[in-house]
């Protein structure tokens, strides 16, 4: 009976209806809206100077030209910013992973005396913080002002990532671990030989969380970095994109003096800064969805 119903349901699902058509239609429109701005940017970045000026570019490049990309390739500011960002992303991700794994593993152990207090100490910072200025003063006080360390040390551990990881460690089966303990393995051996090999997917997830975050962040660089050679890609991009506006406002640092760039050159920078994210996107998406699901199970 139920099976019969299911098969009729499936038949019904395959039937063409107006409602279904509208559903597909609207979702396609929505997907197009999500994608179109990227098309627009790519179109601008490949378009000739005059085509851009006359405002003809909408969907595809007009008077295809690689001038913008050639200019970017030769621009040492962009490259130095790229290296700074790659460096902070790698350092931040590594340090973040090491600290998060250590904290999540230790605090996922039931038998650790004081784990409640220590977890509370970490979780509390999610709800209450000193705020921008006191943090800024501490970072400055530690001599990290205008140093690359200010870009990945003050934000090293993300509490949400810690919760996700601890939830994962908690739900691992304990049999293997107990067997190893009987064989005389110590905590370090258990972590490295048993827990970590089982945790590759979650490590990838959290690693990507940190990496995307560092790649996209510009605010830390905005407040902590003053020397232009230590600017991150996103900060450099912001200064290029809004150069005219920043110059008007007298804004920070090098806003003044940066020549106002052509629109295709700006969009070319956008492409360069976004391309790495798009390249790792297939993996990002898969692991991020898993991470969100784990995070929504409360610790």
């Amino acid at each position: 009976m139920a099976q019969e119903a299911t098969s009729t349901m499936n038949k019904k699902k395959n039937k063409f209806t107006i409602g279904k058509f509208l559903n597909y239609f609207f979702l396609t429109v929505l997907a197009f809206i999500c994608l179109y701005p990227f098309l627009n940017v790519v179109a601008y970045s490949f378009s000739g100077y005059n085509a851009v000026l006359s405002g003809k570019v909408t969907f595809y490049p007009i008077d295809i030209s690689l001038t913008a990309y050639q200019t970017i390739m030769k621009n040492s500011q962009i490259w130095s910013a790229m290296w700074v960002t790659i460096f902070t992303t790698i350092m931040g991700t590594l340090i973040g992973l090491i600290l998060t794994i250590a904290a999540a593993y230790a605090l996922s152990r039931d038998y650790l005396p004081g784990k409640g207090l220590l977890s509370g100490l970490i979780l509390f910072t999610m709800y209450f913080s000193g705020g921008i200025i006191p943090t800024f003063l501490v970072v400055k006080g530690l001599g990290m002002y205008d140093s690359l360390t200010s870009l990945f040390i003050p934000q090293a551990v993300n509490v949400f990532n810690f919760i996700v990881m601890r939830t994962f460690f908690r739900q691992l089966p304990t049999e293997l671990e107990e067997a190893a303990r009987i064989d005389g393995a110590n905590e370090m051996q258990i972590l490295f030989k048993i827990i970590l090999p089982l945790s590759i997917p979650i490590i990838a997830t959290i690693g990507l969380f940190y990496a995307v975050n560092y790649w996209n962040s510009y605010f830390d660089a905005l407040i902590y970095i003053t020397s232009p050679d230590k600017f991150t890609l996103q900060l450099r991009l912001r200064n290029l994109l809004f150069a005219d506006e920043l110059a008007n406002a007298g804004g920070n640092g090098e806003g003044i003096g940066t020549q106002v760039m052509s629109q295709s050159l700006k969009m070319c920078c956008v492409v360069v800064a976004t391309l790495p994210i798009i390249c790792v996107y297939p993996w990002l998406q898969k692991y991020f969805v898993k991470g969100v699901m784990l995070g929504s199970v409360k610790g």
């Binding site: 299911t6 705020g131 006191p134 969805v289």
Partner: protein
């Protein structure tokens, strides 16, 4: 004796000696925790102590310990400033507008995605809808400028080529709010569906079959079965969003805002940035931050209490 009492065993009312033995057994774990605890103390708890500068006439050269205490003077000064109240109003207005549009739309899109039978189409659409979430606000603001600028933005080019008059999307206050909400929705709508889609796959298929046998139409099925089944997730998400009403990340308003729309784009976080970092009025900015944190906690506790009151899971 020690060996018999294996690890992972709970013993009620352990003696101090036994606790110490357990602590010693866990020494490696504590060693692992040490750098993390140091990190949290230095970068989270010391700044919390730093809040004291909100109660001081803070002087960079005298520092936190040497500056003169003056109680609530800073707060009086901050509260008397119209810009402060304007920042609070803008934060609430922008958040409420985003919530009003984004929240129902996210649920509708989730339901639409859930109705799709073709797995390939569904996967592809999801991938495309999630993409904007991973793009930095700097890039989004750059793209938005390219699209929405009044003089030669792509959208205005299209409008004027069709004979319409150009719209000041980014330079008039009303339109700016509209653009801001559109961009927020554009960036986060796909990502928001993840939680709902997970809840939707949990709905018991046999309920759908029963509805089908009773002759329910698709819309009736969605209204009477699907929605009630995910009600709890919807309510929890709504409460969670409301508890964040006083907070807007600094990125979007700072990057999209400009002098012409400052009256609506200046939210609490950008106000703190401008007062604290740009103009170096440390005490004022810290006081505003503290006020915001306290209001946040109050809303959070209230929201949590309310969630439990109506029989949902708490959010803290």
């Amino acid at each position: 004796m020690k060996k018999q009492q294996g690890q992972g065993q709970y013993v009620h009312k352990r003696t101090t000696q036994q606790t110490m033995a357990q602590v010693w057994k866990c020494r490696w774990l504590y060693l692992m925790l040490l750098p993390v605890i140091v990190y949290f103390i230095v970068f989270k708890y010391v700044p919390m102590y730093g809040i004291t500068i909100a109660f001081q006439d803070y002087n960079i050269f005298k520092g936190m310990f040497g500056s003169k205490w003056w109680g609530f003077t800073t707060f009086q000064k901050v509260f008397a400033d119209a810009n402060f109240w304007s920042a609070i109003k803008n934060t609430l207005v922008l958040n409420l507008m985003t919530l009003a549009i984004n929240f129902p739309l996210t649920i509708i899109v989730s339901l639409m995605l859930n109705e799709v039978a073709g797995m390939k189409f569904k996967k592809l659409t999801q991938s495309v809808l999630y993409l904007p979430h991973f793009i930095s606000w700097v890039v989004v603001a750059g793209i938005a400028t390219n699209l929405f600028t009044q003089n030669d933005g792509t959208i205005n080019n299209i409008i004027s080529s069709m004979g319409g008059s150009k719209i000041p999307f980014l330079s008039s206050e009303g339109w700016w709010m509209f653009t801001y909400v559109i961009l927020q929705v554009w960036k986060e709508i796909g990502w928001g569906t993840i939680i709902y889609l997970a809840a939707l796959t949990g709905v018991d298929e046999s309920l759908y079959e029963a509805a089908y046998l009773d002759g329910a139409t698709n819309l009736q099925r969605i209204w009477y079965i699907t929605l009630p089944m995910i009600k709890s997730v919807v309510v929890t998400m709504l409460i969670l969003q409301i508890s964040k009403m006083m907070t807007i990340g600094l990125d979007a308003p700072l990057l999209l805002g400009n002098d012409k729309v400052m009256g609506v784009s200046e939210v609490i976080s950008t106000y703190i940035y401008r007062i604290g970092i740009v103009r170096a009025k440390y005490s004022d900015a810290t006081a505003i931050g503290l006020f915001q944190s306290l209001v946040n906690i109050a809303i959070l506790v209230l929201a949590d209490w309310f969630a439990k009151l109506i029989g949902e899971e708490g959010i803290i």
